[in-house]
Amino acid sequence: MRFAFTEDQLFFRDAVRDLLDKECGPDVVRGAWPAGPAGAGARSPAARVEAVWSRLADMGALAVALPAVGDGLGLGPLDWVLLAEETGYAALPHPFVETACVAAPLGVAAGRVATDLAGAVVPFAAGADTFLLRRGGELVTVAAAEAQVSPVAAVDGALAAARVQAGTTGGRVVAANEDVERAFDRGVLGTAAQLVGLSQRMLDLTVAYVRERRQFGVPVGSFQAVKHRLADALVHLSFARPAVHRAAWSITHDRPERGRDTSMAKAMASDAAREVGAAALQCHGAIGYTVEYDLHLYLKRSWALAAAWGDAGWHRDRVGHAIGV
C-alpha cells in the first residue's frame, strides 16, 4: 500500500499554492469583506477578488473532480484534499469546497455553488450562481435567481452567508439516498482540510511574529511559555492532518468506514483550529485584536468553518455511533 501522495498530486498542490500565494493575499481576502470598520485595512478591489476564482477555473483546479468529459479530470478526494488545504491556507473567499469537491462529482458545473448541506446558514450564498439544496432525501440544484436569499451576519465577513429558500418543486435532482451522504462527507472532508490549512497559516503567521517581536532585548519567541504554547499548537495540527488524509483515502475508495473517518478528521481539524487559533491570538498580544492586522481574517474563517458541516462535538458523536459506544 502506498501512503504518500503521487507526484501529480503534489504538482497540483504546488500549482495552486503558487497561484494563491500570488493572487490571494490577505488584501484580497479583506477585499471580500463588506467595507466598514470590520473590513478596515489594506483591501483589494472587487475585480481582484473575482480574478482569483477565474484563474483557479482556468487552471482546471475547479474541474478536478468533475466527471472526465470535456474539462473534467474525473479525479477523487486524494487528488483534491491538498488543494482544499491550500484554499484554507489562503482563506480563499470563494466556495471551492462546495463547487469543486461537493457539486462537481455530481456533474454540476454551473458556476459558483453554495449548499445548505453545511447547515441552515449557507456560506457564499450571496455570490452563488447555483444552489445545491436538500429536499427530502434528495439533493436538487436550483438557479440562484429562483431562490430567496436572506443575508445573515456571520463572524467571517468574507463568507457572504445567507439563509436560502427555494420552492418545494422545480430544480434538478442530482443525488439521492446514499449519494447525499457521500456528498455531505466530501464537504466535511474539504472543510476539515481547509481547517488544517488555516491552522498552518495562523501558526506560520505567529511563528514569524514571535521571531520578530522583541521584549527584554530578545525575540519573544525565545521565551519558554511562548515556545511551549506554539509547540502544543503544532502537535494538535500534526495529529489532525493525517486524519484528514486518511478520510480522503476512505472516501476515494468508498470504504464502509468513510463516515467514521471523515467525522474523525473534522472533529480533530476543528479542535486543532481552535487550539492553534487561541495560541496564535495569545502569542500575538494586542496586535492580534487589531482589524487592520491579518490574523483575524484567518481566525474568523477558522471559527466559522469549525462550526460548519457539523462541529467537533457532533462529529465525535458520529464516530462514537460508528464504533458502537
Binding site: 507526484e7 501529480d8 504538482f11 497540483f12 500549482a15 503558487d18 497561484l19 484563474r55 482556468d58 487552471m59 482546471g60 483546479a61 474541474a63 478536478v64 479530470l73
Partner: protein, 259 residues
C-alpha cells in the same frame, strides 16, 4: 518558429539556503524553476503561438538529475527539454556554464531564437546569455522588454535607464529578457499531467563532447575564498521633533537625491 529557452533550476528561495564546504550553494534538495526564467518561457510560448507553429525547447544544466523545475515549464507549454546533468558540473562558473549550454543548444535542431533571463536568482552573474552568444558566434541583444519576430529578423525594445532602444538583429540570435515584462501563465492541471510524458533529453558533458575537467569547479578558473553574511540592518536615525524636524527630513531626502 523554434525557440530555445535557457532555464535554471534553483533551490527554493523561500527556504533558507545553505552552503557547501567549498562555499557553493547546496543544490541537493528539490529544485524549482527560477522565477526570472518564467518570463522567457512565457515570451517564447507567445512568440511561437503568434508565428502559428513551432516548438519551445528548454535547455538547462544541473549537477544532479533533478527535473521538477523543468516540469513546471513543460506544464506551461514547452514541448521538450535538454538537461545536461553531470556531477562534474558542480561549482561551474559563468563561462563554463555558457559553454555547456551552447553545446546543448547545438543539439536542438533548427533553433531560430534563443531566449534567456537577464540573470539567475541564485547566481546573479548576469553574463551567461552574452557568453552563450559569444561561444555560438551569434548576435545578442540584452534587457529585452518586448520582442517581435518577422521575416527572419528579431525586433527588440531594449530597456534602458531612460526608456528603451529599438534594436534589430537577423536570426538566429540570443536575447535576454528582463524580469516582469510579460505575465507568466500558471500551468494548467492538464498541462501538468501532459508534462510527464514530454521528452527530456538527459545528457552528460561527455555526450556533448566536452572534457569534464574543463567544466565545474575544476574548470571554473576561479574559487570562492570566503563568504561573509550580509551586515545586519542598522537602526535608523531618530530625530526629536522640536518643530524643525521636517527640515531634517528634507535634508535627508535631498542627500538621497530623491528630491
Amino acid at each position: 518558429m523554434n525557440v530555445v529557452v535557457c532555464v535554471k533550476q534553483i533551490p527554493d528561495p523561500a527556504d533558507p539556503g545553505a552552503l557547501e564546504e567549498d562555499h557553493t550553494l547546496k543544490r541537493t534538495g528539490k529544485l524549482i524553476l527560477d522565477e526570472s526564467d518564467s518570463f522567457g518561457v512565457e515570451m517564447a510560448l507567445q512568440l511561437v503561438d503568434k508565428a502559428g507553429g513551432g516548438d519551445v525547447t528548454l535547455v538547462s544544466m544541473a549537477p544532479n538529475d533533478e527535473t521538477s523545475g523543468l516540469r513546471t515549464a513543460l506544464a506551461m507549454g514547452a514541448a521538450k527539454a535538454v538537461l545536461v546533468s553531470d556531477p562534474a558540473l558542480a561549482g561551474a562558473g559563468a563561462l563554463d556554464t555558457a559553454k555547456v549550454l551552447a553545446a546543448a543548444i547545438g543539439r536542438v535542431e533548427g533553433a531560430d531564437l534563443i531566449l534567456a533571463a537577464t540573470e539567475s536568482s541564485d547566481g546573479y552573474t548576469g553574463t551567461v546569455p552574452e557568453q552563450i552568444a559569444g561561444v555560438l558566434d551569434l548576435p545578442s541583444i540584452t534587457f529585452a522588454k518586448h520582442v517581435e519576430v518577422a521575416d527572419g529578423t528579431v525586433s527588440v525594445q531594449r530597456q534602458t535607464e531612460l526608456g528603451y532602444d529599438q534594436c534589430e538583429s537577423p536570426l538566429p540570435a540570443v536575447v535576454s529578457v528582463t524580469a516582469g515584462v510579460v505575465e507568466p501563465r500558471y500551468p494548467s492541471f492538464k498541462g501538468i499531467m501532459a508534462a510527464k510524458s514530454k521528452p527530456v533529453d538527459q545528457v552528460t558533458v561527455a555526450d556533448l563532447g566536452i572534457d569534464a575537467s574543463a567544466v565545474g569547479a575544476a574548470g571554473a578558473g576561479q574559487q570562492i575564498v570566503e563568504v561573509t553574511p550580509a551586515p545586519e540592518r542598522q537602526a535608523g536615525e531618530i530625530i526629536e521633533d522640536d518643530g524643525e524636524a521636517h527640515l531634517k527630513i528634507i535634508d535627508f531626502l535631498d542627500g538621497l537625491k530623491v528630491l
